[in-house]
């Protein structure tokens, strides 16, 4: 049953509608081809930490792994262990109650790492800016290398941001 359904989809299904980011994906693919593997250096593993989101950004982070966006094709994967991670990806405000956990997650990661703030809340607190329950955006806890704004940013925007990090990383070498 699984195999027959799978085969049917591979053989007869028209390609899925990609309204959500066809042009972005095409542009990204082209840009990636222009980067040699050597320049990319290595594939990077991401440890995600929600430090106080509404869970909207998590939905889109999960979406970048689906078969339409397929994050792994760019050499990027999510890892459960901070020990294996090269990128600390933070979503949500810096909630007071999550400050210590976020610091510990960072401390558990081997240097060097990149820190990315995804979503308006992680960028500067977003709509929750000024609330006494939060300390602000991710940079109120850690130094942040890249910010991807949006509420939530679309999967295309998130991948775009991650690829610009790869490019910048390659340039540094």
């Amino acid at each position: 049953m699984v195999w027959s359904t799978l085969a049917r989809h591979l053989l007869t299904k028209p390609s899925p509608p990609r309204e959500a980011g066809h042009s972005t994906a095409a542009a990204l693919a082209e840009r990636l081809q222009n980067l040699s593997n050597e320049k990319l250096g290595r594939s990077l593993a991401i440890r995600h930490v929600d430090s106080g989101s509404c869970n909207g950004c998590e939905l889109e982070l999960r979406a970048i792994q689906n078969m339409v966006y397929d994050l792994t094709q760019y050499g990027l994967t999510f890892t459960p262990s901070p020990r294996h991670a090269d990128i600390l990806l933070i979503t949500g405000v810096a909630a007071r109650n999550m400050g210590e956990a976020l610091r510990q997650a960072r401390a558990a990661m081997p240097d060097p790492i990149f820190t990315i703030a995804v979503g308006d809340c992680a960028v500067d607190g977003g709509v929750f800016k000024g609330s006494p329950a939060i300390t602000g955006g991710a940079d109120s806890i850690l130094a942040v290398d890249l910010m991807i704004s949006g509420c939530p940013p679309t999967p295309g925007q998130i991948i775009d941001g991650l690829l610009s990090l790869l490019e910048a990383h390659a340039g540094k070498k």
């Binding site: 049953m1 699984v2 359904t5 799978l6 989809h9 899925p16 509608p17 990609r18 309204e19 959500a20 995600h48 930490v49 929600d50 430090s51 106080g52 989101s53 509404c54 869970n55 909207g56 950004c57 998590e58 939905l59 889109e60 982070l61 999960r62 979406a63 792994q65 689906n66 078969m67 339409v68 999510f78 459960p80 949500g92 405000v93 909630a95 007071r96 109650n97 999550m98 210590e100 956990a101 997650a105 709509v127 929750f128 000024g130 609330s131 006494p132 329950a133 939060i134 509420c151 939530p152 679309t154």
Partner: protein
């Protein structure tokens, strides 16, 4: 119209299905299925409801943390959202008492979990693989949302309502809008009512597809996970094409909707529904046919009918445990009275039953969206809320259960607000359900209920 005011004795002995409790000004409010009641605060205290209604415990802790109002007659061993309890300003761990017995040990998980999910701490007491007790410590994503809503106009506060739980952004915006409109006596244009329902059902379908897929994925069926994730993606892309936002955040506002359906949006939605309806029977058969999948789902995370009733569980979890409950029909709101909604009910109360309910609801939501799109009336999409006063409750059925918003508005500004997400009553059920299975089944159980962290942390 103000809710009935009860003496302390009558308050404490009130019967019915408990939904929510909060304090505001000089009053404590409790919401039961039969309606709202109040009692006076005496020196900042009110009689506890949790001895009779266990679901009230979280609300009592929250009222203490947010407003300093204490429930008399109980002492809760931990707090809801206030973690910084030590006199020197640090956040010590609360005491987690292990289940009694020889060889029992504790297992700590979180607040940061392995996957891409929200933070929360789970403390399991286990013997071998068997879970004996689970205690969840929440509050990690507390953002002070309710305080930020006070002093703002309903239109300005709507963006906070939309961010109480991002996966149920339409439902929360809808419940908030319902409360505003009831408080200010607004009658909505029919086109706005129907567009809201289209968005709410799209949101339900997007969440149900990803939940079903994620449950199958956790049981090792990556194929189902991939297919359902693809359908979620196509529903989100359709929502973006129709309403300009993949999650439809900030699209439902007090007084109507923020934008009309875009040209081509109707077709995009229908295409995504057709694709899902074509594939759904085959995917459902995979669920039914594979013994190895059934083995993981059937009997796992059992929530009995009596337990579900004791916590007045709503939504998928309630309906999978024999509760004929859906806020769309009872208390009900427009336009569902015209939809002849079929509410699926199962009685097994396990993960498999919760998957079955979701699969049945996908078909029903498809039908509703098509009906609404076929008969979309012309006319206005929004009216401006006047700067008048009033107090009211609003409800909407999110994909996980009913969400309630209570508002007090004076001269067009919100003076107080309370929000009860369905998750508040679902978390204690997750704690119970975990104890019916082994530790390896917890991810399945947790996903099958899919309670929101942000929705209760506020």
């Amino acid at each position: 119209m103000s809710p009935p005011h009860l003496s302390a004795h009558a308050w404490q002995n009130h019967t019915g299905a408990f939904i929510a409790l909060w304090t505001s000004g000089e009053l404590a409010y409790a919401l039961f299925d039969a309606g709202l009641i109040t009692t006076s605060l005496e020196d900042g205290t009110y009689p506890a409801l949790s001895p009779k209604h266990p679901g009230a415990a979280w609300f009592e802790k929250l009222s203490l943390d947010l407003n300093g109002h204490k429930a008399s007659g109980v002492s809760h061993s931990n707090t809801a959202i206030e973690h910084f309890l030590s006199p020197n300003g640090t956040a010590p761990w609360p005491e987690f008492r292990p289940a009694p017995g020889e060889g029992v040990h504790q297992m700590a998980v979180g607040p940061i979990h392995a996957g891409i999910i929200e933070p929360g701490h789970f403390r399991f007491s286990i013997i071998g693989e068997k879970v004996l007790k689970l205690e969840a410590r929440l509050g990690y994503t507390h953002k002070g949302t309710l305080a930020l809503m006070r002093g703002k106009s309903p239109r300005n506060a709507a963006r906070f309502a939309a961010r109480i739980s991002g996966d149920a952004t339409v439902a929360h915006s809808l419940a908030f809008a319902h409360a505003t409109e009831a408080a200010l006596g607004l009658t909505l244009p029919p086109r706005a009512v129907q567009l809201r329902a289209v968005m709410a059902e799209l949101e339900r379908m997007a969440n149900h597809t990803s939940d079903i897929g994620a449950i199958a994925g956790d049981a090792g069926f990556a194929f189902l996970d991939a297919r359902f994730a693809w359908h979620r993606e196509s529903l989100c892309a359709a929502a973006n094409a129709a309403f300009g936002h993949r999650l439809m955040m900030d699209m439902v506002i007090p007084g109507g909707v923020a934008g009309d359906i875009k040209t081509g949006g109707d077709d995009a939605i229908r295409r995504s529904l057709d694709a899902l309806e074509t594939e759904r029977p085959g995917l459902t058969r995979v669920f039914e046919d594979y013994a190895s999948l059934q083995d993981r789902l059937v009997g796992t995370g059992h929530i009995g009918i009596h337990l579900a009733a004791r916590y007045a569980a709503g939504g998928v979890t309630g309906r999978a445990s024999g509760r004929q409950t859906d806020a769309r029909t009872s208390p009900g709101y427009a336009p569902y009275e015209l939809m002849e909604l079929t509410v699926p009910v199962e009685t097994e109360g396990d993960v498999a039953a919760r998957v079955k309910i979701r699969l049945a609801e996908l078909a029903e939501s498809c039908r509703i969206i098509r009906t609404l799109l076929n008969h979309l009336p012309d006319g206005q999409i929004a009216i401006a809320p006047p700067a008048t006063s009033g107090m009211a409750l609003g409800v909407a059925e999110s994909f996980r259960g009913p969400v309630w918003h209570w508002l007090n508005i004076e001269s067009g500004l919100i003076t107080d607000v309370f929000v009860a997400d369905a998750s508040t009553l679902l978390w204690p059920l997750v704690e119970h359900a975990a104890c019916t299975s082994i530790i390896a089944d917890f991810p399945l159980i947790n996903k099958s209920v899919n309670a929101s962290y942000s929705g209760v942390d506020l």
